[in-house]
């Protein structure tokens, strides 16, 4: 009898492990949502945190800019080249400006910026907050009755929420400019034709910003906030010294990237299918 028990347990072990994983993910999600609520509730203290906010904004906006610019430039050039080849076959190369500007503003700009910020700034936030956690600095704040959401999380979330759309606008413009270079040299499109097509796509007669631009910016705002809160949450849940900090960084980047894709889809569905006009 006692010989069969370990076998049954052996069969159940993967189920137990899967259950533990689901439990861990749900706990993390609950903690992160709770942290987000506490951070929003502390928004009125943002003026007191302006120094940390400016530091975080500098890290998110200025320090990540070189990578964003290089990636955006080449992404725009690749997109123009790939799309241009097909358009040339159809005799529609003059549409390249429209296609490129819409692709960049709707999807590629916010998506690329989100991924870059998750990998650079999000990982740095998780490492910084995780190190604070394992070296008792977070406990020290707690003991001093200083709210961690207010003191540590709020400036970072505010900075990322502001800087992600800012970097996205620059990324969009550089990507479109990269497309202009390829269109001119490889597809024989004049600069005037290209930029007229871009302007036509990115202006609206009914609102200040066309839907394709503001939906892209909404995505960037959501991505920025998500990356910051997920990274802070991962850092605050870190434990077990340097190894725990490393795991927190890994968790933060993975969760941020997955959420960027899922939320990107959700926002597209919301604005283009649920609210088409």
């Amino acid at each position: 009898m006692s010989g069969t028990k370990p076998t049954v347990r052996g069969w159940l072990e993967p189920v137990r492990q899967a259950g533990a994983q689901v439990d861990e993910v749900l706990c993390a999600a609950g903690y992160t949502v709770g942290l987000l609520v506490r951070t929003f509730a502390a928004t009125r203290y943002l003026p007191r945190r302006r120094r940390f906010f400016l530091d975080a904004a500098h890290a998110a906006g200025v320090k990540s800019m070189p990578v964003s610019l290089v990636v955006a430039l080449f992404a725009g050039m690749i997109l123009a080249l790939q799309t241009g080849i097909e358009l040339r076959r159809l005799g529609q190369t003059e549409l390249i400006g429209n296609i490129l500007s819409l692709s960049m503003c709707r999807e590629m700009g916010p998506f690329m910026t989100g991924i870059i910020l998750a990998a650079t700034v999000g990982s740095a936030i998780a490492a910084e907050v995780g190190t604070m956690k394992v070296s008792d600095e977070v406990t020290a704040l707690d003991v001093m009755s200083i709210d961690v959401a207010n003191y540590i999380v709020l400036p970072r979330v505010a900075a990322m929420t502001l800087m992600c759309p800012t970097v996205t606008v620059v990324t969009d413009l550089v990507g479109i400019a990269g497309g202009a270079v390829v269109s001119h040299f490889h597809l024989g499109i004049t600069q005037q034709t290209y930029w007229l097509a871009v302007r036509e796509s990115l202006t609206s007669t009914t609102s200040i910003l066309p839907k394709d631009v503001y939906v892209g910016l909404v995505k960037a705002i959501v991505f920025g906030c998500t990356i910051a809160i997920v990274s802070c949450s991962a850092g605050l849940r870190a434990g077990g010294g340097a190894l725990g900090v490393g795991r927190a960084v890994q968790r933060a980047v993975m969760a941020s990237i997955i959420l960027i894709i899922v939320l990107g889809y959700a926002i597209t569905w919301l604005f283009y299918f649920l609210l088409p006009e």
Binding site: M132, A140, S145
Partner: protein, 242 residues
């Protein structure tokens, strides 16, 4: 007065505290000694309200700590300072900003008043010359002194010290011990220290308690402890457990 009665605490599968009874009298430094992993730091965390006991009572000034609401706990914590093992200073703030932090965040004191209080406290711990430095740029001993200044700046009635000499060389550790004794006399604070160091207990302790397997196995003044025949007490006092 700090009073713990029958405190039990389980962390994961391990029963860390098993009916701990502890009374810290006013105005004295109480040193809680014990081997690593016997629940010394866990005891401190119960007193400051970071952990809640599974059973038993934790009282500070007659108030049951685990039953407090968030605001009430914050109020209680203002009466307490906590010195962490490595100081636990915020790395992106200077030493003086770290020390000023509890006053800036929790009081409506004027900036000039805060500045004066911080300078006075830094002087007491001998850190006034390093006020503008950042924590990574100062030594471990200096970080501890700055941590002590931060614990004292709100003029608490109680200071909890978590292994105040961990990682320090004997000379620096001795200086920290002298400082802890000086702080008790200068500010009339009640101290609860946890340590595994005999020297720390000798230098700072008015009363000593030895913790083993989640409860106090011997307690008394240093003179009484020298008379003890308990093997763990003998081991600590002979320095074998250091």
């Amino acid at each position: 007065m700090i009073e713990l009665r029958g405190v039990c605490k389980r962390l994961g599968s391990r029963e860390v505290l098993r009916g701990l009874d502890l009374v810290v009298p006013e105005g004295l430094n109480y040193v809680l000694m014990g081997r690593s992993g016997t629940g010394k730091s866990v005891t401190l965390k119960h007193v400051i309200g970071i952990l809640r006991p599974d059973a038993g009572s934790v009282k500070v000034d007659g108030v049951e700590v685990p039953g407090l609401r968030r605001k009430e706990l914050q109020e209680l914590r203002r009466k307490m300072g906590y010195l962490f093992q490595n100081g636990a200073l915020i790395n992106w703030l200077t030493v003086e900003e770290n020390v000023a932090l509890p006053l800036v965040e929790n009081t409506r004191m004027a900036r000039s008043e805060i500045r004066d209080r911080v300078q006075e406290t830094l002087k007491v711990v001998g850190m006034d010359h390093a006020a503008r430095q950042f924590p990574p740029d100062v030594s471990g001993g200096m970080r501890l002194r700055a941590g002590l200044a931060r614990a004292l700046v709100g003029r608490p009635r109680y200071v909890l010290y978590d292994e105040p000499n961990a990682g320090l060389d004997p000379i620096m550790a001795r200086q920290i011990h002298e400082l802890i004794a000086h702080v008790r006399d200068r500010f009339q604070v009640t101290g609860l220290l946890v340590t595994h160091s005999r020297q720390c207990a000798l230098d700072t302790g008015d009363r000593i308690g030895v913790l083993d397997e989640g409860r106090i196995v011997a307690e008394g003044t240093m003179e009484e402890m020298w008379q003890s025949t308990h093997p763990l007490v003998r081991s600590f006092l002979s320095g074998h457990a250091d």
